[in-house]
């Protein structure tokens, strides 16, 4: 295989707080090819958002990337200067955030916020930047763009704001978009529209996408491949079909079983017992073992990611047997 677009290698992002070191991301490795869509799945606090922000060096203090590499087209972004990162942010790698109510500055017009995004990377006049912003809005399905450019964020609905954020992300036709739960705060119908459009736009432009979410249903509809995170680590990775159809890590299986499905109508949903461990006090070895029904003595030692291929692997001593999901699916 040729050099991937993005290769994250043993990334560690820690937060040095007074209560102790929080290992929000602790040795995450990912790879992403051009035009590929990766779903990064996990519960709150699993480190998925911090992973996304670490790639662009956007983690706020006291957080800090303390180890690993982020190779973007062969260039290591960890340790790259702020100036270099700034040239990449928004132009080569764009980001979309979770809450569309919060990602646009309330006191600046949409036009201002789009024009500045264009002008941050290209020496173009205001008129041309305005015209490009206008076209970007049309592309994400916003009617009467000129009127909309003059408006302020509070005059938009949540779905519209997220479309604006997506339009901003697409301004420079980036190679990669990191989307941090961009549909979580939206209505289900709007969510479906946005998903469909993002997928379409990425396919059209050949943009790769990392879609950070806690929602496996979204991932199954959108992604090519999935990486499941738990307590700062990737615990399982594979194609969507492999993860959904044949999960090997007990945590992935637990996640799947807690999602309602038409095929299992009438069968009570199963939940994973216990709670996400405190990131300040992770259990020894596999962080999931206290909640796991398959745990053995071996689980107090951290298992490595292993499996059939580099991109089909799981981090478990006692993986669920292949093709052995005990439900009516």
């Amino acid at each position: 295989m040729t050099e991937p677009l993005l290769r994250v290698d043993g990334l560690k992002t820690h937060f040095l707080t007074r209560a102790g070191t929080v290992k929000a991301v602790d040795g995450v490795s990912l790879r992403l090819d051009r035009g590929e869509i990766l779903g990064l799945v996990g519960e709150s606090g699993s480190g998925k958002s911090v992973t996304g922000q670490s790639i662009l060096g956007l983690v706020d203090p006291p957080g800090r990337v303390v180890g690993g590499r982020v190779l973007f087209q062969g260039e290591d972004l960890v340790g790259a200067g702020e100036k270099r990162l700034r040239a990449i942010r928004g132009r080569r790698i764009a980001m979309i955030f979770q809450d569309p109510m919060m990602t646009l500055n309330p006191v600046l017009s949409i036009g201002t916020q789009m024009v500045e995004a264009v002008q941050a990377h290209e020496k173009v006049g205001r008129a041309e930047a305005w015209e490009r912003s206008r076209r970007a809005l049309v592309r994400v399905g916003i009617a009467s763009p000129d009127e909309r450019l003059a408006a302020y964020p509070h005059q938009f609905s949540g779905g519209m704001r997220q479309r604006v954020a997506i339009a901003i992300a697409l301004l420079h036709s980036p190679d990669l978009i990191i989307a941090d739960e961009p549909t979580t705060a939206l209505d289900v119908t709007i969510q479906a529209q946005i998903l469909f459009e993002v997928q379409k736009l990425c396919r059209e432009t050949g943009t790769a996408l990392i879609w950070v979410t806690h929602d496996l249903a979204v991932v199954s509809a959108l992604a090519d491949r999935v990486a499941v995170m738990y307590a700062g680590r990737v615990v399982e990775t594979g194609t969507v079909a492999e993860i959904i159809g044949n999960p090997r890590h007990p945590y992935t299986r637990g996640l799947l079983e807690s999602v309602p499905s038409r095929n299992r109508r009438g069968v009570p949903l199963r939940s994973i017992p216990g709670m996400t461990p405190s990131v300040l006090d992770l259990p020894e070895g596999c962080a999931f073992h206290p909640r796991c029904d398959r745990s053995t003595g071996a689980c107090t030692v951290m298992p490595e990611l292993s499996g059939e291929r580099e991109d089909r692997a799981w981090r478990c001593w006692n993986p669920v047997a292949a093709e052995a999901r005990g439900d009516a699916a």
């Binding site: 942010r89 500055n105 309330p106 941050a120 990377h121």
Partner: protein
């Protein structure tokens, strides 16, 4: 917009009326001016004549109605002491105070906002800590003491700046201003800094608190994720958001700076309204005190109106419509 302004003006009129009643009643409670105004050797006849001349023999409500009647005609009474119209006396001193207050506010804003931004962006840095400690001093040191220390240091010991007075003035719009001449400017520096110190600390704290809050917002991170330069993120995205509370407080404080520059004006012998007020209170010169207070009230009202208008420029979410009550 127009409806908004008209409604605000109506509200302001109510405030002015209520204020004039309060002021009039209050001033009655602080003693009889006649004893101060006539010589101790005056006999009963002279005393009664003076009382009648000043209208002090009438009951309070009658005096008030007479006052309102003439006030509507722009006449706020004649100074007992100086024998000239009280309003003219106050207005004549007004430019000096306005100049001092505006300079103080300018110092507070020009220094306070950058310092507050810095302290907010780097709260744990040495500079951030020094700025915050300094602002505590600005809050807690009494103005008159700081004023005297400034005179001691810069006027007496170093001899760099004059200790008091307005210095040379130049005329603009028929009004004398100190800041138009080098000598006047030199006279202005110390009192302006003295008056600014408290406001400066206030602006620093406001700007710092706002910055710390705004810097954590998603839209700031999104702005960075767009690849914007730090100067644009701080200078536009953060600054515009923190200006809203700063403008509110500055508007309110500008009024209070003008109204209560009394201490600084006294320490630096600055011939403004504050000094006039102190003198008039000591001499129980009722018309001047009343004229001063009414001018101050009007000033507050106007400043608040301006602040509301500035808001709508800063924050598009605030609509100055008149549709709803």
């Amino acid at each position: 917009m127009l409806v908004f302004i008209l409604r605000r003006l109506a509200q302001s009129a109510v405030v002015v009326v209520a204020m004039s009643v309060l002021v009039f009643a209050g001033i009655f409670a602080i003693g009889n001016p006649i004893d101060v105004l006539i010589s101790p050797e005056a006999d009963e006849f002279e005393r009664a004549a003076a009382i009648a001349r000043l209208g002090l023999d009438k009951p309070m409500h009658e005096q008030f109605l007479r006052f309102v009647d003439s006030a509507l005609g722009g006449d706020l009474g004649t100074s007992f002491v100086h024998g000239v119209p009280a309003l003219g006396l106050v207005l004549q001193r007004f430019p000096a105070t306005l100049e001092l207050a505006l300079c103080a506010m300018l110092v507070a804003v020009v220094l306070g906002i950058p310092l507050g931004l810095w302290a907010g962006l780097k709260p744990d840095s040495l500079a951030g800590r020094i700025i915050m400690t300094g602002s505590i001093l600005g809050f807690s040191l009494p103005t008159f003491w700081v004023g005297m220390m400034l005179i001691m240091a810069f006027a007496v010991t170093l001899g760099w700046l004059p200790a008091g007075g307005r210095g040379e003035t130049a005329s603009l719009f028929g009004v004398p201003w100190s800041f138009l001449t080098a000598d006047g400017l030199a006279h202005l520096i110390l009192p302006a800094v003295n008056l600014a110190l408290f406001k400066l600390s206030l602006v620093i704290r406001l700007a710092r608190a706002g910055t710390r809050e705004v810097a954590l917002q998603d839209y700031v991170k999104f702005a960075r994720a767009k690849g914007l330069a730090p100067s644009r993120v701080v200078g536009v995205h953060i600054l515009k958001n923190i200006m809203i509370p700063v403008v509110t407080i500055l508007g309110l404080e500008l009024g209070s700076v003008i109204a209560f520059s009394v201490v600084t004006e006294t320490v630096f012998a600055w011939p403004g309204m504050g000094k006039l007020l102190i003198d008039s209170i000591l001499q129980l010169d009722r018309p001047v005190v009343i004229a001063y207070l009414l001018v101050t009230v009007l000033l507050f009202v106007v400043i608040n109106l301006i602040v509301d208008l500035v808001y709508s420029l800063l924050d598009p979410r605030i609509r100055l419509g008149g549709g709803r009550a």
